[in-house]
């Protein structure tokens, strides 16, 4: 908490949780969900958490419990298989986790399908439509149904790591450090001019790692507030950041 950068901390709540992260890792590394290389996935999972900690994102307890669970499964996998009496068959220590992942994925898909329905007030409208009559004051929530937000972390981590190598001499210029609040304002200004940019281009002017982090956290906050939107036409294409039309507060 005494970390001088703690003021940059943003909640990790815009991400969908540890199971979502595990599914992302499974998809990204193209591993078989029924035969998860648990040691490898655990290592990658922990690398993610460490990276998020490095860039001052608060790691919720739920992510830590998942890390502990993965560690436990890993240790069970290493134990010699002893068939106990009365036990019909050796149970795979991963079975419970796989069941949870599959069940969670089922609902994640269902949520995406719901988002595709013809939604009243978005796709279809009744006669004499008054949006406030219907839903009361609109609650602004972020919308990342089709986008895997962990891809944003992946891309940022690549930028961060490449910059780390090329910028070995980091000069501290206290007068030039800026806060998330300031950076958010700048980003909105830039986006008003450009409307749409590649995610990686937002980091062009950030010469120092601390600035990279501030930009990243600012983007996350603006996404959370619904001022910016993410868009990726397909899995392999670069991520685009778009300014939402109606948020000229």
């Amino acid at each position: 908490m005494e970390d001088p950068q703690s003021e940059y901390s943003v909640q990790l709540e815009i991400f969908s949780g540890p199971l979502d992260l595990l599914l992302h890792l499974i998809k990204k590394h193209e591993v078989d969900i029924y035969d998860i290389p648990i040691a490898r996935i655990t290592k990658q999972y922990l690398e993610y958490l460490n990276f998020l900690k490095d860039v001052n994102l608060e790691i919720a307890g739920d992510y830590m419990s998942m890390a502990a669970e993965l560690g436990y499964i890993k240790s069970r996998m290493l134990l010699p298989k002893i068939k106990e009496e009365g036990e019909e068959e050796e149970q795979d220590p991963r079975e419970e986790l796989v069941k949870r992942l599959l069940e969670y994925e089922k609902y994640r898909n269902a949520a995406a399908e719901l988002a595709e329905m013809e939604i009243l007030g978005k796709d279809v409208f009744p006669i004499g439509y008054d949006p406030r009559e219907m839903f009361g004051e609109p609650i602004e929530e972020t919308e990342f149904v089709k986008f895997d937000l962990w891809s944003l972390v992946d891309t940022f981590s690549e930028i961060y790591k490449s910059r780390k190598r090329s910028q070995t001499k980091e000069i501290s210029l206290p007068s030039q450090t800026y806060t998330v609040e300031e950076r958010k304002k700048q980003l909105v200004k830039t986006m008003r001019r450009k409307r749409e940019v590649l995610f990686e281009d937002l980091f062009e002017e950030d010469k120092h790692r601390s600035k990279l982090v501030v930009t990243f956290l600012s983007v996350l906050e603006l996404l959370k507030e619904g001022i910016l939107e993410v868009f990726q036409p397909s899995f392999k294409e670069p991520i685009r950041i778009i300014l939402r039309e109606q948020n000229e507060r």
Partner: protein, 182 residues
């Protein structure tokens, strides 16, 4: 043809003036002298007829009732025209919670959290506030936690006829079998 069916025309104008989707039951209550079978047929005729006419709005069956709604291909013009319309938005987390409640109702917050592996308090409050879910009683377990279910506003908003109209998801039982086979 509905054009020759005076009952269909009367039902049509009732649906038109009704503020919320009009149910067959409500129509029957109103047109007391006419049999339910005849009313159901007339509504079916109307639905087909409106679909064929291909206007910018049509008769939709939602939340157990009928309502005139614009076709989705015109949404961009409507949103553009009515600047006050804030696009409907729910976060991925809230949509996931909504999906779980929809498929598993009635269900407690703790049970939803077990499925998602993460705290869901803020999504549950958002969904309660938006009136997409509501309290369905308490579960008779220690602590007597609230049970949640979806509302008819949820059906109305997502254009679902009834809760059985939800998009089908991969059956969990099937998945378990697959796992055993491995």
């Amino acid at each position: 043809m509905s054009d020759r069916n005076p009952i269909a025309k009367i039902i049509e104008c009732l649906i038109f003036v009704s503020e919320t989707p009009l149910t067959i039951g409500e129509i029957c209550n109103f047109l007391k002298d006419i049999e339910k079978k005849e009313i159901t047929e007339a509504v079916g005729e109307l639905e087909r007829h409106w679909e064929e006419m291909g206007r910018s709005f049509t008769l939709s069956s939602v939340a157990g009732g009928y309502q005139f709604r614009t076709r989705p291909e015109y949404s961009q013009y409507i949103v553009e025209f009515n600047k006050e319309i804030k696009k409907f938005r729910l976060s991925k987390a809230s949509l996931e919670v909504l999906a779980i409640v929809a498929y598993e109702q009635p269900i407690t917050k703790t049970e939803v959290e077990k499925i998602r592996g993460v705290d869901c308090s803020s999504s549950v409050s958002v969904l309660l506030e938006k009136k997409f879910i509501e309290i369905a009683g308490r579960k008779e377990v220690p602590g007597r936690p609230f049970l949640y279910k979806t509302t008819s506003l949820f059906l109305e908003t997502f254009g679902l006829k009834n809760i059985k109209d939800l998009p089908t998801v991969k059956e969990i039982e099937k998945i378990k079998e697959d796992f055993r086979e491995q």
